[in-house]
Amino acid sequence: MCNTCGCNITPGNRTHAYQPVNGVTAVSVLQNLLARNDDQAAHNRRHFDQHQVLAINLMSAPGSGKTALLEATIDALKNEFRIGVIEDDLDTENDAARIRAKGVPANQITTGSACHLDAHMVHDALHHFPLAGLDILFIENVGNLVCPASFDLGQHRNVTLLSVTEGDDKPAKYPVMFRAADVVLLTKSDLLQVLDDFDPMRAESYVRDLASSVPVLQLSARKGLGLEAWLHWLRNELAQQRARLETGATVRPKVQPDGVALHA
């Protein structure tokens, strides 16, 4: 009996046999479902690297203080680094206007009703946004703890914000998002004294439950508390990016290489 002519198919196993090969070609693919997005993201990343820019993707729920964090960061670093911001919301130019008021170039993407940025939208925005001369580009994603985690934009690092007015168990509720973080920022920390239900230690332990050893930092952008640790992280990332560029290497957010290595 052989596997060629069909003589191995007996009355007993006929129902399990593969359908006749006539006219059907099975093609093995083993490709990420978001391969097109990932190709575009890799293109964006090369573009950032060529311009020697560190690209940081900010993600959080709406109202966690992404724009306020950027304002405080720009105030602290504007004499040290040249910063650019791509803002993204469903509608309005409000956030870009807040950033421009700080004297920093900002491009606003409005996604209509789309709930996340993808690599193509960022690529389109880059056409209107000169990278030359920038040190750090912040990409403020749509406020959403679900979808943005799944789309690589070409950024080097992910920052996830969790404001203390939210629940401290959000990392357990949104594991895909918090697993994607290279640093977790507990924002609006000045409000901790009036909130009795947010325990920063508990929030951190939920992050550790995701097998993540990334820094979990507390800060208040409005009151200027705890910013130094965040600025230190940022300066360190920029130094590492510059060292990588010397050797022609690049980096993706921490969580993504795992998947790529496993599925290669």
């Binding site: 006219g23 059907v24 093609v27 083993l30 479902l33 391969a35 097109r36 509720k173 895909v176 939920y206």
Partner: protein, 117 residues
Amino acid sequence: MHELSVCQALIAQVEQLAAQHAATGVKSVHLRLGPLSGVEPQLLQDAYPIACAGSVAAESALLIDIAPLKVKCETCGAETEASPNRLLCGQCGDYHTQLVSGDELLLMSVELLTGVA
């Protein structure tokens, strides 16, 4: 959720494969998804007929395998099952683990209708 846009990206990939093999249609599309992929299998199934309508993959079946969630401990070396928000070692409880399986979002294979040989 973004299942429809994921489905549209999937159909674009399938259309490309169909064109490469000069296929006249698609019989089935086989995916492997992990619980940490960020994609809900049922929502993907619901979005699929909308995304494939009018394409070469219209009428095709979407088959989804769910990958198990497994971590390997960097401390004790054990490989154990985990849950999406508790990726701790099932043996020693350490959080220094690497995901071995569970974040897959993979197009495994397609069956193309390529006319009678």
